[in-house]
Symmetry: C2
DNA sequence: CTTTGTGCAAATTCTTTGCACCAAA
DNA sequence: TTTGGTGCAAAGAATTTGCACAAAG
Protein backbone atom coordinates (compact mmCIF):
# COMPACT_ATOMS: atom_id res chain seq x y z
CA UNK A 1 0.00 0.00 0.00
CA UNK A 2 2.99 2.23 0.63
CA UNK A 3 4.07 1.51 -2.91
CA UNK A 4 0.76 2.83 -4.22
CA UNK A 5 1.26 5.91 -2.12
CA UNK A 6 4.61 6.62 -3.81
CA UNK A 7 3.25 5.59 -7.18
CA UNK A 8 0.54 8.23 -7.01
CA UNK A 9 3.05 10.95 -6.28
CA UNK A 10 4.75 10.23 -9.60
CA UNK A 11 1.62 11.53 -11.24
CA UNK A 12 1.20 14.48 -8.87
CA UNK A 13 -1.77 12.84 -7.23
CA UNK A 14 -2.19 13.56 -3.54
CA UNK A 15 -2.57 10.18 -1.88
CA UNK A 16 -5.57 9.59 0.35
CA UNK A 17 -6.54 6.33 1.98
CA UNK A 18 -9.11 5.73 -0.73
CA UNK A 19 -6.87 6.69 -3.64
CA UNK A 20 -4.04 4.49 -2.42
CA UNK A 21 -6.41 1.59 -1.96
CA UNK A 22 -7.77 1.97 -5.48
CA UNK A 23 -4.31 2.30 -7.01
CA UNK A 24 -3.09 -0.64 -4.97
CA UNK A 25 -5.94 -2.74 -6.30
CA UNK A 26 -5.16 -1.72 -9.88
CA UNK A 27 -1.46 -2.49 -9.50
CA UNK A 28 -2.03 -5.89 -7.95
CA UNK A 29 -4.96 -6.97 -10.12
CA UNK A 30 -4.25 -6.47 -13.79
CA UNK A 31 -7.75 -7.35 -14.86
CA UNK A 32 -8.86 -4.05 -16.42
CA UNK A 33 -11.62 -3.81 -13.85
CA UNK A 34 -14.89 -1.92 -14.00
CA UNK A 35 -15.84 0.65 -11.38
CA UNK A 36 -18.09 -1.91 -9.78
CA UNK A 37 -15.39 -4.55 -9.58
CA UNK A 38 -13.10 -2.11 -7.83
CA UNK A 39 -15.84 -1.01 -5.48
CA UNK A 40 -16.90 -4.55 -4.63
CA UNK A 41 -13.32 -5.64 -4.07
CA UNK A 42 -12.53 -2.80 -1.68
CA UNK A 43 -15.76 -2.25 0.21
CA UNK A 44 -15.37 -5.32 2.49
CA UNK A 45 -12.22 -3.83 4.01
CA UNK A 46 -13.39 -0.23 3.57
CA UNK A 47 -17.07 -0.30 4.47
CA UNK A 48 -17.51 3.46 4.22
CA UNK A 49 -16.13 3.64 0.69
CA UNK A 50 -18.64 5.03 -1.77
CA UNK A 51 -18.95 4.34 -5.44
CA UNK A 52 -18.87 8.08 -6.08
CA UNK A 53 -15.36 8.16 -4.67
CA UNK A 54 -14.33 5.33 -6.95
CA UNK A 55 -15.70 7.30 -9.90
CA UNK A 56 -13.96 10.49 -8.74
CA UNK A 57 -10.73 8.65 -8.15
CA UNK A 58 -10.58 7.05 -11.54
CA UNK A 59 -11.50 10.28 -13.29
CA UNK A 60 -8.56 11.88 -11.52
CA UNK A 61 -6.21 9.01 -12.36
CA UNK A 62 -7.15 9.22 -16.03
CA UNK A 63 -6.82 13.00 -16.07
CA UNK A 64 -3.33 12.75 -14.58
CA UNK A 65 -2.31 10.00 -16.97
CA UNK A 66 -1.87 7.38 -14.27
CA UNK A 67 -4.37 5.00 -15.84
CA UNK A 68 -5.98 4.53 -19.23
CA UNK A 69 -9.72 4.33 -19.70
CA UNK A 70 -10.55 1.66 -22.28
CA UNK A 71 -13.33 1.98 -24.82
CA UNK A 72 -13.33 -1.75 -25.60
CA UNK A 73 -16.34 -2.64 -23.46
CA UNK A 74 -19.62 -1.08 -24.46
CA UNK A 75 -21.26 -1.91 -21.17
CA UNK A 76 -18.87 -0.49 -18.58
CA UNK A 77 -15.83 1.69 -18.37
CA UNK A 78 -12.66 -0.36 -17.92
CA UNK A 79 -9.39 0.87 -16.48
CA UNK A 80 -5.81 -0.16 -17.11
CA UNK A 81 -2.80 0.88 -15.00
CA UNK A 82 -0.47 -0.27 -17.73
CA UNK A 83 -0.06 2.84 -19.85
CA UNK A 84 2.53 1.33 -22.20
CA UNK A 85 1.61 0.69 -25.85
CA UNK A 86 -0.33 -2.54 -26.05
CA UNK A 87 -3.62 -3.88 -27.35
CA UNK A 88 -6.53 -5.67 -25.67
CA UNK A 89 -8.66 -8.69 -26.24
CA UNK A 90 -12.23 -8.83 -24.97
CA UNK A 91 -14.00 -12.16 -24.60
CA UNK A 92 -17.57 -11.60 -25.79
CA UNK A 93 -18.74 -14.51 -23.72
CA UNK A 94 -17.41 -13.82 -20.22
CA UNK A 95 -16.35 -10.17 -20.61
CA UNK A 96 -12.78 -10.74 -19.48
CA UNK A 97 -10.04 -8.59 -20.98
CA UNK A 98 -6.47 -9.65 -21.57
CA UNK A 99 -3.44 -7.75 -22.75
CA UNK A 100 -1.87 -8.28 -26.15
CA UNK A 101 1.75 -7.20 -26.06
CA UNK A 102 3.23 -9.05 -29.02
CA UNK A 103 2.23 -6.67 -31.78
CA UNK A 104 4.50 -4.71 -34.08
CA UNK A 105 5.36 -1.35 -32.54
CA UNK A 106 4.34 0.43 -35.74
CA UNK A 107 0.75 -0.60 -35.10
CA UNK A 108 0.68 2.03 -32.38
CA UNK A 109 2.15 4.68 -34.62
CA UNK A 110 0.02 7.79 -34.78
CA UNK A 111 -0.61 8.86 -38.38
CA UNK A 112 0.48 12.34 -39.35
CA UNK A 113 -2.60 14.28 -40.28
CA UNK A 114 -2.62 17.93 -41.19
CA UNK A 115 -6.32 18.57 -40.82
CA UNK A 116 -7.13 16.86 -37.53
CA UNK A 117 -4.97 16.05 -34.51
CA UNK A 118 -4.66 12.49 -33.20
CA UNK A 119 -3.41 12.01 -29.64
CA UNK A 120 -4.20 8.38 -28.85
CA UNK A 121 -4.74 4.97 -30.46
CA UNK A 122 -6.63 1.99 -29.15
CA UNK A 123 -6.40 -1.44 -30.71
CA UNK A 124 -9.03 -3.94 -29.63
CA UNK A 125 -9.60 -7.56 -30.50
CA UNK A 126 -12.82 -9.43 -29.89
CA UNK A 127 -13.59 -13.10 -29.67
CA UNK A 128 -13.77 -16.05 -27.32
CA UNK A 129 -11.26 -16.82 -24.59
CA UNK A 130 -9.84 -20.26 -23.86
CA UNK A 131 -12.17 -20.89 -20.95
CA UNK A 132 -15.28 -19.98 -22.91
CA UNK A 133 -14.14 -21.90 -26.00
CA UNK A 134 -14.75 -25.17 -24.21
CA UNK A 135 -18.35 -24.41 -23.32
CA UNK B 1 -35.62 3.31 -50.32
CA UNK B 2 -36.05 0.43 -52.75
CA UNK B 3 -32.29 0.04 -52.70
CA UNK B 4 -32.35 -0.44 -48.94
CA UNK B 5 -35.04 -3.04 -49.42
CA UNK B 6 -32.79 -5.05 -51.75
CA UNK B 7 -29.76 -4.36 -49.60
CA UNK B 8 -31.39 -5.95 -46.58
CA UNK B 9 -32.19 -9.12 -48.51
CA UNK B 10 -28.47 -9.64 -49.09
CA UNK B 11 -28.18 -10.22 -45.38
CA UNK B 12 -31.33 -12.34 -45.14
CA UNK B 13 -33.14 -9.58 -43.33
CA UNK B 14 -36.86 -9.39 -44.02
CA UNK B 15 -37.49 -5.78 -45.00
CA UNK B 16 -40.19 -3.87 -43.17
CA UNK B 17 -41.01 -0.21 -43.59
CA UNK B 18 -39.02 0.60 -40.45
CA UNK B 19 -36.03 -1.57 -41.29
CA UNK B 20 -35.77 -0.17 -44.79
CA UNK B 21 -35.98 3.38 -43.45
CA UNK B 22 -33.22 2.72 -40.92
CA UNK B 23 -30.98 1.04 -43.49
CA UNK B 24 -31.68 3.82 -45.97
CA UNK B 25 -30.62 6.37 -43.40
CA UNK B 26 -27.41 4.47 -42.67
CA UNK B 27 -26.54 4.13 -46.35
CA UNK B 28 -27.14 7.80 -47.11
CA UNK B 29 -25.61 9.24 -43.95
CA UNK B 30 -22.20 7.82 -43.25
CA UNK B 31 -21.90 9.51 -39.89
CA UNK B 32 -21.72 6.44 -37.60
CA UNK B 33 -24.90 7.57 -35.90
CA UNK B 34 -26.19 6.78 -32.43
CA UNK B 35 -29.60 5.22 -31.86
CA UNK B 36 -30.92 8.61 -30.92
CA UNK B 37 -29.64 10.30 -34.06
CA UNK B 38 -31.32 7.66 -36.19
CA UNK B 39 -34.54 7.95 -34.23
CA UNK B 40 -34.59 11.74 -34.36
CA UNK B 41 -33.84 11.78 -38.07
CA UNK B 42 -36.63 9.38 -38.95
CA UNK B 43 -39.39 10.23 -36.52
CA UNK B 44 -40.50 13.42 -38.35
CA UNK B 45 -41.49 11.37 -41.40
CA UNK B 46 -42.42 8.29 -39.35
CA UNK B 47 -44.23 9.67 -36.32
CA UNK B 48 -45.20 6.25 -34.98
CA UNK B 49 -41.63 4.95 -34.99
CA UNK B 50 -40.44 3.94 -31.55
CA UNK B 51 -36.94 3.93 -30.18
CA UNK B 52 -37.39 0.30 -29.18
CA UNK B 53 -37.80 -0.56 -32.85
CA UNK B 54 -34.61 1.29 -33.68
CA UNK B 55 -32.82 -0.72 -30.98
CA UNK B 56 -34.33 -3.99 -32.23
CA UNK B 57 -33.50 -3.15 -35.81
CA UNK B 58 -29.86 -2.39 -35.16
CA UNK B 59 -29.43 -5.46 -33.01
CA UNK B 60 -30.73 -7.48 -35.92
CA UNK B 61 -28.51 -5.70 -38.44
CA UNK B 62 -25.44 -6.36 -36.30
CA UNK B 63 -26.41 -9.99 -35.75
CA UNK B 64 -26.77 -10.51 -39.48
CA UNK B 65 -23.52 -8.73 -40.24
CA UNK B 66 -25.11 -5.87 -42.14
CA UNK B 67 -23.65 -3.22 -39.86
CA UNK B 68 -20.83 -2.98 -37.36
CA UNK B 69 -21.35 -1.75 -33.82
CA UNK B 70 -18.45 0.46 -32.77
CA UNK B 71 -17.03 0.50 -29.25
CA UNK B 72 -15.18 3.76 -29.84
CA UNK B 73 -17.69 5.99 -28.05
CA UNK B 74 -18.12 5.32 -24.34
CA UNK B 75 -21.34 7.29 -24.15
CA UNK B 76 -23.47 5.77 -26.91
CA UNK B 77 -23.45 2.84 -29.28
CA UNK B 78 -22.42 3.87 -32.80
CA UNK B 79 -23.24 2.02 -35.98
CA UNK B 80 -21.39 1.75 -39.27
CA UNK B 81 -22.81 0.29 -42.52
CA UNK B 82 -19.34 0.10 -43.97
CA UNK B 83 -18.19 -3.34 -42.94
CA UNK B 84 -14.89 -3.20 -44.86
CA UNK B 85 -11.61 -3.08 -42.91
CA UNK B 86 -11.01 0.48 -41.80
CA UNK B 87 -10.29 2.45 -38.63
CA UNK B 88 -12.10 5.33 -36.95
CA UNK B 89 -11.24 8.67 -35.48
CA UNK B 90 -13.34 10.15 -32.66
CA UNK B 91 -13.17 13.85 -31.90
CA UNK B 92 -13.20 14.14 -28.13
CA UNK B 93 -14.55 17.66 -28.38
CA UNK B 94 -17.61 17.33 -30.66
CA UNK B 95 -18.04 13.57 -30.68
CA UNK B 96 -17.96 13.24 -34.45
CA UNK B 97 -16.48 10.09 -35.97
CA UNK B 98 -14.66 9.88 -39.27
CA UNK B 99 -13.33 6.93 -41.22
CA UNK B 100 -9.64 6.24 -41.61
CA UNK B 101 -9.06 4.20 -44.73
CA UNK B 102 -5.41 4.85 -45.48
CA UNK B 103 -3.85 2.34 -43.12
CA UNK B 104 -1.70 -0.62 -44.02
CA UNK B 105 -3.88 -3.70 -44.56
CA UNK B 106 -1.71 -5.72 -42.17
CA UNK B 107 -2.97 -3.55 -39.33
CA UNK B 108 -6.26 -5.40 -39.61
CA UNK B 109 -4.59 -8.77 -39.60
CA UNK B 110 -5.95 -11.08 -36.94
CA UNK B 111 -3.15 -12.66 -34.90
CA UNK B 112 -3.01 -16.44 -34.83
CA UNK B 113 -3.59 -17.55 -31.28
CA UNK B 114 -3.88 -21.11 -30.19
CA UNK B 115 -5.42 -20.52 -26.82
CA UNK B 116 -8.14 -17.99 -27.55
CA UNK B 117 -10.08 -17.22 -30.73
CA UNK B 118 -10.12 -13.72 -32.22
CA UNK B 119 -12.88 -12.85 -34.67
CA UNK B 120 -12.71 -9.07 -35.00
CA UNK B 121 -10.39 -6.08 -34.67
CA UNK B 122 -11.21 -2.48 -34.00
CA UNK B 123 -8.67 0.30 -34.43
CA UNK B 124 -9.66 3.64 -32.92
CA UNK B 125 -7.93 7.00 -32.91
CA UNK B 126 -8.81 9.83 -30.57
CA UNK B 127 -8.11 13.53 -30.75
CA UNK B 128 -9.47 16.82 -32.04
CA UNK B 129 -11.05 17.35 -35.45
CA UNK B 130 -10.31 20.29 -37.75
CA UNK B 131 -13.43 22.19 -36.76
CA UNK B 132 -12.73 21.88 -33.05
CA UNK B 133 -9.02 22.64 -33.43
CA UNK B 134 -9.87 26.24 -34.21
CA UNK B 135 -11.88 26.79 -31.06
C1' DC C 1 -54.89 -18.53 -38.14
C1' DT C 2 -50.02 -18.25 -36.97
C1' DT C 3 -45.85 -16.20 -36.83
C1' DT C 4 -43.15 -12.12 -36.73
C1' DG C 5 -42.60 -7.12 -36.01
C1' DT C 6 -43.77 -2.88 -33.66
C1' DG C 7 -44.37 0.34 -29.93
C1' DC C 8 -45.63 1.83 -25.38
C1' DA C 9 -44.51 1.99 -20.58
C1' DA C 10 -41.86 0.39 -16.93
C1' DA C 11 -37.67 -1.33 -15.20
C1' DT C 12 -32.60 -1.65 -15.04
C1' DT C 13 -28.03 -0.23 -15.22
C1' DC C 14 -24.31 2.93 -15.39
C1' DT C 15 -22.84 7.44 -14.48
C1' DT C 16 -23.25 12.24 -12.89
C1' DT C 17 -24.62 15.95 -9.80
C1' DG C 18 -25.66 18.66 -5.57
C1' DC C 19 -24.66 19.21 -1.28
C1' DA C 20 -23.28 18.38 3.55
C1' DC C 21 -19.72 16.64 6.30
C1' DC C 22 -14.86 15.21 7.18
C1' DA C 23 -9.80 15.62 6.96
C1' DA C 24 -5.46 17.56 6.12
C1' DA C 25 -2.36 21.47 5.82
C1' DT D 1 -9.70 28.35 8.98
C1' DT D 2 -9.50 27.17 4.35
C1' DT D 3 -9.11 24.06 0.83
C1' DG D 4 -9.79 19.81 -1.00
C1' DG D 5 -11.77 14.93 -0.47
C1' DT D 6 -15.49 11.83 0.64
C1' DG D 7 -20.06 9.89 0.60
C1' DC D 8 -25.01 9.92 0.54
C1' DA D 9 -29.15 10.48 -1.99
C1' DA D 10 -31.23 12.03 -6.03
C1' DA D 11 -31.12 12.90 -10.87
C1' DG D 12 -30.01 11.73 -15.59
C1' DA D 13 -29.10 9.09 -19.62
C1' DA D 14 -28.80 4.84 -22.37
C1' DT D 15 -30.52 0.49 -22.89
C1' DT D 16 -33.49 -3.58 -21.91
C1' DT D 17 -37.73 -5.98 -20.87
C1' DG D 18 -42.69 -7.36 -20.72
C1' DC D 19 -46.53 -7.32 -22.97
C1' DA D 20 -50.44 -6.03 -26.06
C1' DC D 21 -51.54 -4.92 -30.59
C1' DA D 22 -50.63 -4.76 -35.69
C1' DA D 23 -48.95 -6.68 -39.99
C1' DA D 24 -47.63 -10.16 -43.16
C1' DG D 25 -47.84 -14.56 -45.15
Amino acid sequence: MLESHQYLRQFSIKPSVQRSAVMNFLLKNRIHPTIDEIYLALSPTMPTLSKTTVYNTLDLFVERGAVRALAIDEKNARYDVDISAHAHFLCRSCGSIRDIFDLKPNMFHIPDTTSFKIDAVEISYFGTCEKCKGN
